[in-house]
Symmetry: C2
Subunit: 262 residues, 2 copies
Amino acid sequence: MEIYTTGKKIRESARNGRFSDTTSGHAPNYVQSNVVILPKEYAFDFLVFCQRNPKPCPVIEVFDVGSYNAKISAPNSDIRTDVPRYKVYQNGQLISEPLDILDFWDDNLVTFLLGCSFTFEHSLVRNGIDLPYYNSGKNVPMFITNIQTEPSGLFSGPLVVSQRWIPRDKLVRSIQSTSRFPTVHGAPIHIGEPDKIGIEDLSNPDYGDPYTKINHDDIPVFWACGVTPQAVVLQSKPKLMITHFPGHMFVTDVNDEQIAMI
Amino acid sequence: MEIYTTGKKIRESARNGRFSDTTSGHAPNYVQSNVVILPKEYAFDFLVFCQRNPKPCPVIEVFDVGSYNAKISAPNSDIRTDVPRYKVYQNGQLISEPLDILDFWDDNLVTFLLGCSFTFEHSLVRNGIDLPYYNSGKNVPMFITNIQTEPSGLFSGPLVVSQRWIPRDKLVRSIQSTSRFPTVHGAPIHIGEPDKIGIEDLSNPDYGDPYTKINHDDIPVFWACGVTPQAVVLQSKPKLMITHFPGHMFVTDVNDEQIAMI
């Protein structure tokens, strides 16, 4: 398959209808983002929710009300066409999974780009940590925990985490390397003992695909996950919410090193 | 003078009218914050302004609409009484510098706590960098630059910076130690050559008190400053804005090590 090397190229191909696939493995040095689009009346409470829960909801950019252009992180983009595939919810019900959202757009919508773990996974892989689902069409396993997010207005609910098996001798390095990227979920929130955060069975995730430990002494490590804000917002049944289709991210023009903390 | 050791003690004394002084040098291990209080109609645009300009406007906490309690960073506090002194502006004009804001409060107000450089100055001092104004009743020199902030809605204007003289052999350490604290302005935005950012005369700051270099090879280093959001908001003449009186900060219960990035 053709590998797109930049965010600009992948957005152009999505816009022209030539690309409607997952963005995993494409543009590996560019920041990919979760997309949440909501009517203005929900925007302040949602942004405060993100501020109070920065690990699951790291904000990359908030568009001006009604704007469809990511003027800071991807100038000349169009959020209505540049995501490979979308999900559209009305009153909490999925009504469409379209390739563009031109028919759903109106001037009252506010777009939020939130960090995606694709960036720190690239860093884990470069640090020699094996992620068998990465770049293979599968997804990381994700679990609903018993940890409550900090509520804001309508929005409240449990934290969702992603889980990766980390070899004991790479544990410190995995914490260091993900700590560098706070705007794509950053450092883990829990290490070992899944039951301590309400996870009963690692082979049965709430979202994504499970994978088994690769080495005898691999440890399950848990990171805050970008599914959290979508799950929390959906629970409150907003009259309209548009998101990217899982794994089909909005790819920015920002290089991952530009968002590294140090 | 009595030195208050915790945020809780200093807030109680401010509330009881026993303390109306600058908080510099008090509760040195607790995060102190700038206060901006605005009517709800300005809150979303202001929070987006902070998100787009995280170096001058690092958000510590946003209160629920109408709430006067910092439920996350200082439970049991009351923002109407717990700041040693306030400034109240109507339509861009200063109308009062009261010791509490009980008479100005209404249920439509949103309170923002923004990081204050007192935290990273404590870190610079512990790293052996001499800040002669620190803890002496004087203030750091601050300058309006020719760098524009990223606008949001009504809010736009130039970045304000604070300036400190750093010995050449402490330059790297000063960058490292302030980088650890992104929520209190973090790493510098400029080193040396003040004219490159529109500053003509270091002896004539726009706010605060100038001080001269201590060593022959001291270098002027510039950090984004919390005066920026107040200056920007004031320019748009909101019908009401309440802030802390300069140097008279809201002191939280959060220990500075808890907000260090790594």
